[in-house]
């Protein structure tokens, strides 16, 4: 970075004009135009695929916040996808369709689960943290498997989407698609503000060197717990959208492999980068699409591929788009 400053002549282009940001904006533009593209080429299922990718991106943005910026390797992040979706599903099961109730409940349940489990998980470190976050998610997974009332293993069909009377009609697929898109963009902006705030500096400092942060006088535990709760809530929101989008929820939404997929997306895209989750989720989709076409056991190729990414491109896809100009910028 230093040499960079010395060798490049002063230019008039503002710092945010870069290949990286151009690529990110292009992907967002693609998502924004996708309904039109799907219409022109008569490929309506593209809308489904891309709304799913955008939801996965929101979940990955929330994981990137604690994993990439906060160094908390949660292997249980899919729990919040399930909790958000089940909040919608279970309330709908009892004929409560109002989004004004469903969404706050989904967010509150996710936040509470993050608060309780995070309070315990964050007392551990390293592999123990990974294992215990996984254990809590398995617990909640098996809880829903055992709840016959809500379909158990078979899951629960959601007959009506969340209702926001007078405000927005989510039963319209296109409206739901753009709602997800707007929430995706807002999530990117939210996490960007968070990581660059005073709070975010503490979170990033605690990732690099927690003992030093404490020696500077920061009570790191409570800041990390707050970050954990924020991430859980944001992923819960992704779950709420997932329930609305698929009109179905099952324990498989919070299976440990789903948590693994989210980690893969974050690592693939570039941990602790602004656009990483966006790139990672799209790449994940494309790889899944092409590899599964060639080979049913595509996960077998995927694993080694990911290891190569980790070894040769620690910054993930993001690092191919030019030098990183510092954390979180």
């Amino acid at each position: 970075m230093v040499t960079d400053q010395l060798t490049t002549a002063p230019s008039t282009t503002p710092a945010w004009v870069s290949v990286r940001n151009g690529t990110g904006l292009a992907v967002l533009l693609l998502y924004a135009l996708m309904p039109g593209i799907a219409d022109i080429f008569d490929l309506p299922f593209y809308l489904d695929i891309f709304s799913r990718v955008m939801i996965l991106t929101i979940a990955a943005i929330s994981l990137n916040f604690i994993l990439g910026f906060g160094g908390m390797v949660s292997f249980g992040h899919a729990a919040y996808l399930g909790l958000g979706a089940y909040a919608v599903g279970i309330l709908a099961y009892y004929d409560i369709y109002s989004g004004w109730i469903q969404w706050p409940v989904g967010l509150a349940v996710s936040a509470l689960f993050a608060l309780v489990t995070g309070a315990i998980c964050l007392r551990t470190k390293g592999v123990y943290f990974i294992m215990i976050t996984l254990a809590f998610t398995q617990m909640i997974h098996f809880l829903f498997v055992s709840l016959e009332e809500f379909g158990g293993d078979d899951g629960l069909t959601i007959w009506n989407r969340s209702e926001f009377d007078g405000l927005i009609d989510l039963s319209n697929d296109l409206t739901l698609y753009y709602t997800i898109f707007v929430i995706l963009v807002l999530s990117l902006a939210l996490v960007h503000r968070l990581v660059n705030s005073r709070f975010g500096m503490v979170i990033q400092g605690a990732r690099s060197n927690e003992p030093r942060m404490r020696a500077l006088g920061f009570p790191t535990y409570r800041y990390r717990l707050a970050a954990y709760v924020i991430a859980g809530s944001l992923c819960g929101l992704a779950g709420i959208l997932l329930g609305n989008d698929t009109e179905f929820v099952s324990p498989s939404d919070m299976h440990w492999t789903k948590s693994g997929d989210l980690i893969i997306i974050v690592v693939l895209g570039g941990m602790g980068t602004f656009w990483g989750p966006l790139f990672g989720a799209l790449a994940f989709l494309l790889l899944e699409f092409f590899l599964s076409d060639i080979f049913i056991w595509w996960h077998l190729i995927f694993g080694p591929l990911l290891i190569l990414v980790v070894i040769f491109a620690r910054g993930g896809i993001d690092s191919f788009l030019g030098q990183q100009n510092g954390q979180g910028r």
Partner: protein, 251 residues
């Protein structure tokens, strides 16, 4: 000047089998530079870790300005005015020099549950940060990534981060670790500028630096204090010469 600011009584710390701190008692006077010397593995870092709350002693007490801080969480000790630096450079290498110092200042500027305003152009942080950088003569290095600084500068930054909040006592764990002659001289000058402003508990291997800076010296061997006194007293102490200084001169 003769007021005791940090009082350690009968401190004991075992690490499975090893007695790293052995009934250690110590008094640091307000305003003095109190050096702690001793061979590798004598338990110097372990002492600092207990004073700064990284881990609790097995027994004994630590008093700071008349408050018993033996069991106080480390981060709270900082806010009472007891700061430390690390033997292994513990700066944030992905942050710029200014961001490192600003983070240290942020710790003393109220709570950090502030989620929205960008910290990097928060003048309440950047201005004091720049002032502190001027003080340690890194004023023009603010925008450099800390990881790209020369070793000597990194050690300076390491200590600068302990200075935020203007602590009364600073525990310095081998500030000259890995430094060559010229850098060491600069560091000695830098540290001597602390006199009158901070009380220093200085752990250091560089004997020239210790004898140049210290008002009093405590010698630690196998976790135990074998002598405390003025530099002249320590120099002429037979037990110390045998246990420690003698070896040094022979080497």
């Amino acid at each position: 000047m003769n007021e005791v600011i940090l009082r350690v009584r009968d401190l004991v710390k075992h690490f499975d089998g090893v007695t790293a701190t052995d009934s250690l008692s110590l008094e640091v006077l307000k305003g003095e530079v109190h050096a702690i010397i001793g061979p590798n593995g004598a338990g110097k870092t372990t002492l600092i870790n207990q004073l700064s709350g990284v881990f609790l002693p097995d027994s004994g007490t630590i008093k700071f300005k008349d408050a018993d801080i033996t069991a106080l969480p480390g981060f709270k000790r900082v806010h009472l005015g007891l700061a430390r630096s690390f033997q292994i450079t513990s700066i944030f290498k992905n942050f710029t020099v200014r961001e490192n110092v600003a983070l240290a200042i942020q710790s003393h500027a109220g709570h950090s549950f502030k989620f929205w305003r960008p910290a990097r152009n928060d003048s309440q942080l950047t201005e004091p940060a720049q002032a502190l950088l001027e003080r340690i003569e890194l004023g023009d290095r603010g925008d450099v990534l800390a990881g790209n600084l020369a070793h000597g500068e990194q050690r300076q930054l390491e200590i600068a981060m302990a200075l935020a909040g203007d602590p009364e006592v600073i525990l310095l764990d081998e500030p000259m670790a890995g430094m060559g002659g010229e850098d060491s001289d600069r560091m000695v000058q830098f540290l001597s500028s602390f006199k009158g402003r901070h009380t220093l508990l200085l752990i250091e291997h560089d004997m020239d630096a210790v004898f140049a800076l210290a008002d009093r010296i405590t010698v630690l061997v196998y976790g135990r204090v074998i002598a405390t006194g003025t530099p002249a007293e320590i120099r002429s102490n037979e037990e110390v010469r045998q246990a420690y200084l003698g070896e040094d001169e022979a080497a």
